[in-house]
Symmetry: D2
Subunit: 274 residues, 4 copies
């Protein structure tokens, strides 16, 4: 996986530079915490799943990823809000910004969502309308880059010349983060509510993480990504329906729930019923 | 609330030193992010609940609490694992440790839990047995403190003389944390799986927080403390029961679910059914 | 100080929203750490200066500031690199970006620095040249905002329509940070090597901090801002000159060095001489 | 280096588990920030030294170390105050604490320092006195461990039984930290003011770091460890002596100062003289 470029958007990419640790490193760290007691009970996969399910997050911090990412500035601005990470970004003060700008693909040229104040709707503009918008955007970007070049040719300081470059301009960075915080990043950025343009990067990173720590990633999918949280009031509403129902062992196995996980599910149901 | 001492365990306490912000400060910060658009839709309470429900955690970081806490060293060792906080602790290098040690109350002298590798069982030892153990503990603590005093009287450096003091010895600190991270602390430390001795502090702090930011605390209870998360597999099992059921508006209101919250619940159910 | 707007650049500002603690709060926290022993020796001012001089930074973390800031996006991008802080920023996904853009004042329209790869030179362009550049910048900003409005009027989603807005566009945020980390911010951002546009904000914040914690700020100036660090090799070079020299008490007092500080200086000199 | 155990104190150790990156990784990350411009000017060693000298700390964050450490609890309590790190510690709730306790070597059995409120003096107790103290400590530790075993044999929960174990008891953890924060740890913990017992660990880690990133470590020694900071007032005092002196190129080279470093030193001197 290391070094392979995953293209993102029209001109960006994610590339794994280095990784420290794997599924075994998570287990190794957890065994220090939980001591020899755990050795017999859990095999590795079970232990990793147990840790994820019960929010024992520190062993996941023992795996570290470093990526090289090329991304538009407006995506970088959302991304950088994840503070527990290390970043070295290309600097427009030291070096010339490059002539690369993001233009949304035609099918992403969409109206404001009616239901979601922060998002776009599910249907694209008519093709001609989208084409027109894309063309306008590109022309503007060309003009802005030409102006930037003009300013540089007057010897104007780079740090001033770049102030009218748009947030669609591509930048680059090295980004290093531990697996626990990376899962948190993915949870928020793979989500439907994330802006499409950062979601594309989230999905590329998810592929890399899945290959690097397959057991941990599967646990993340089962217990976080594909899970759902119900509030106290919602649980009461659920209980009014589920209340009469009982699950036998066979029924639970049919859903993939067995052993400790099955017992934990039955405990949750028992609590639901009060 | 400021200055009031909440006794914890046999000799400890929690005391609020200062607080910056309240429920209104959360709203104020959120309105900067979400702009004027939100002004009409939500009143304050609805906005705070929306933020909590949807993990928009940054506005909660805008409220800050500072506590003075007196606690046994073994509790301090669990507590300090919450890294996103500021701490000034009493130093056994600069000053003499004090003659104060934690002794569990008789009803907390309990056997190892059979089901929970890290906890104690639900029933206490027989009173005489508990009394005997408590007495032994106290005698040991007395002896250890006397030895500490002996060592200090030889002029031995404080930083060495204290190394045989036990982790039941009380220490003190100032502890400052923002509300988002404090909720995370409470979630883990009020929980059944937390050691009883830190839970006592968690509950004292919860009272203070509830008084300081009542709307945010109520949202925390509804959507985090009293909530339950179901994994992908568990959701499938739930769906097999809930699948046929529909809730009408009146039924939901009976559970306290209305408006946006009711719609969100119905959306979750719809997803459950696939 | 709370609420007062400090104008920055052409359209920005810094405004103190709230502050928790003052010089006394630093002392209060330090006294917990260092115990009663310190009570007699130091008065408050001396203690604060001692803490600053010896990098005992945690008591400074016990003071917290919250600001409301309006700033160009390219300044926000530098600012946000300070990770140990809390931020709520205006969102271009939720709300329309406003028609406000930074245009450098004529005397800041300068050439690339010859000596500093990341900065601008000390002399401004000729007035007509600067005026021409400023006019071009403003025209571009007007055109870009008009295009943004056009895109919004086609119902294009706000999160896409804004991608060609330039990094000179103003944004706003609430920013909360503890005093230790704020001093670190100021140290880097008041510095000559910081870009002028963020330095302006640093200097406004410095005024506010100076008023809020005058003793701590003075210590910060003496021991950090106005200090200089010499490497091992540089110390050897210095020693070759200073080696023969001795300072008597009176001479040191003339430089404002007395008591503990004078002794510490003589200790440094003694080490210099080997 | 990986896997090699560095013994520390009487029963502890530090062991490098894994490392991500090396000197080249620092350069690689810096080149992203500073762009192609730096490529020609600096060779790698010069660039790393430049970064260290000018507090461009983020490229050093791109290297990550993971250690396995066995250490007394009182050392662990000082160590954990470094918050920007990841930790998995052995848990006395899950597992039995082990029969291993720190006893200071005879030459570390010393009186309270007269000058340093937090430290010990430079001379050890008389051998017989030290031997007596060591023997008392060991006997106490034996008795405490026997009591712990007695309590466990009554089935008392581990999390309670351990509360009278002393802070000299050994614990273990996995500890992961980036190079920038590790340098900060070393700076504080190799220092004379650090307690001897943590300094021993600091020095073991320093050896490992020196082997892993020799160029960065050398820069850390030159510009941080062996450097000295002078306050504004101290600089004025220095200036009164150095004022008349000039260094020519040859003189500076004799101190190992040449090229950019020599120029920077002359700049500092010029500022000194006002």
């Amino acid at each position: 996986m290391v070094g392979k470029e995953f293209p993102c958007l029209d001109k960006g990419f994610v590339r794994l530079i280095d990784v420290m640790g794997d599924d075994a490193a998570i287990v190794q760290a957890a065994r220090v915490s939980y001591g020899s007691g755990t050795k017999k009970v859990h095999e590795d996969r079970g232990l990793i799943r147990y840790l994820m399910r019960h929010l024992h997050t520190t062993p996941f911090e023992m795996v570290e990823f470093k990526f090289h990412v090329k991304l538009p500035i407006f995506v970088a601005r959302q991304w950088i809000r994840h503070r527990t990470a290390n970043v070295n970004e290309y600097s427009g003060r030291y070096s010339e910004m490059k002539d690369e700008f993001y233009v949304p693909a035609a099918d992403q040229v969409r109206a404001q969502s009616a239901s979601n104040k922060q998002g776009r709707s599910d249907t694209a503009f008519a093709p001609e309308e989208a084409a027109r918008i894309r063309q306008t955007m590109e022309q503007t970007q060309d003009r802005l880059y030409a102006e930037y070049q003009d300013l540089l040719s007057t010897e104007l300081a780079r740090e001033i010349a770049r102030i009218n470059l748009p947030v669609s301009n591509y930048t680059e960075w090295y980004w290093k983060i531990d697996l626990h915080n990376l899962f948190h990043f993915l949870r928020l950025r793979i989500d439907d509510h994330a802006q499409y343009e950062i979601r594309v990067y989230g999905e590329a990173i998810a592929q890399i993480v899945k290959a690097a720590v397959p057991i941990a990633y599967e646990a993340f999918e089962d217990y976080i990504l594909h899970s759902e949280r119900f509030s106290g009031k919602e649980l009461a509403a659920l209980a009014s329906v589920v209340g009469e129902h009982t699950f036998d062992e066979g029924a639970l196995e049919a859903f993939g729930l067995k052993g400790r996980e099955a017992r934990e599910f039955l405990d949750k149901l028992a609590q639901l019923k009060g």
